[in-house]
């Protein structure tokens, strides 16, 4: 039998041991890091505490229903049809941030709690473009 292609089980063993050794390396690095930090604090006790992984303020949640968000989408769509890209910007700017984020999630272009506002806006822009391109029939 050829040794060209490792069997899946061998491949899994190889990957597992690779993961193990990477984890070991990382643990060593973490230990070094915290030792350095301890030494630093011993010398400079007034060193500002390391910033907490900033959760910021908790995100405000949109109170709109899926249907209401779809109406917002229709409104943006209509504005774009009437006045082009400006219609997009001007309509989206009337929406509170939490609704923009919720709309992105509703359109399947954003994750709750993860998507940034600018990503959400770009996602919505993409969906508007898609919907416009999908809509053309010979009756238009």
């Amino acid at each position: 039998m050829s040794n060209e292609f490792p069997q899946p089980s061998e491949e899994i063993k190889r990957l597992t041991s690779e993961i193990e050794s990477l984890r070991a390396e990382m643990q060593v690095s973490f230990r070094k890091l915290s030792q350095m930090e301890k030494r630093l604090r011993a010398v400079f006790p007034n060193l500002p505490k390391k910033p907490k992984a900033t959760p910021g303020q908790p995100r405000q949640l949109s109170s709109k229903s899926g249907e209401q968000l779809k109406e917002d989408f229709q409104r943006i769509l209509q504005a774009v049809e009437e006045s082009g890209p400006q219609g997009f910007d001007s309509t989206i700017s009337t929406l509170p941030n939490e609704d923009v984020l919720a709309l992105a999630v509703e359109l399947g272009v954003g994750q709750p709690k993860q998507t940034s506002l600018s990503k959400a806006v770009e996602g919505i822009r993409k969906r508007i473009q898609e919907r416009r391109m999908l809509g053309h029939t010979r009756h238009d």
């Binding site: 779809k70 399947g108 391109m133």
Partner: protein, 293 residues
Amino acid sequence: MKEKKGPKSIATINFKGGVGKTTCTWCLGDLLSTFGKSNVLLFDLDAQMSLTQAITLNEDGSLVQQFQTWADKSFKKKKTIFHAIEEYTGAGNFNFGVNYEFIYQISDRYHFIPSVEDLYWLALDVIPRDKMQTFMRSLLAKITWSTNVQNYDYALFDCPPSFTLLSYSVLSVCDMILIPINPDFYAAKGVPLILNMLQMQIEPLPVPKIGVFMNKAKPYGGGMTKESRFYWDSVKDVCQKFSKKSGIKIQCFESPIYDRVKIKRAVTTGGVPPEFVSDFKSLWNNIERFINE
């Protein structure tokens, strides 16, 4: 003459390849004949023969011996669908006799008219369009009146992803056109395209009812993902507008078939996979309601 009802006919089509025309048509037929009480006649109209191959190949790729024997005989006796077309469009009368040399029996209630490679010739438009238009109606009448074969409740057609003369003869006379779509931009984009094409090609004849459903919907928590939903909403929007402006009856069925690998072996192993049965049942309920409206 005695009143005799022909089968209700449903043609599955989309110009977009790979959306699941063949798989879903086959599964619906299998569902009806296995779980229902109907006799089903399935047509493979695609010269690519993917349905014929799927039904008649063993999993190792060899042809099921029984089918091979049948197909050889069918060809020798000039009983393929291509021979039927040749005879219908030729100079003489259409005396094509329907029997089980023309129709292959997959099971008691599930029967099949396979494709043959010769159907490629139909792409060349060598046959007059008007003549070909009435072909399938005449063939179905022959099947209905034939005493050699059983009565069929439904005729299902797996159409090629193009508008051939043969598909024209089906699409212009069937009771319903069924369009599967997928949850992605290009599949959704194909919907206005196919609607335009159907209208342009079939009119001035009346365009049959059109049913649309989502295949390969991405599942999420008992429904489909938001992304799949977005494309489905877009398609519904297009269909609604198109229907309003053209007067063609279009219904979008709220009964998706989900994307699951299990379906891949459905045709070759014979039998709608159990996890798909309820999806296909809901789809069928919608189809039946619409077709009888």
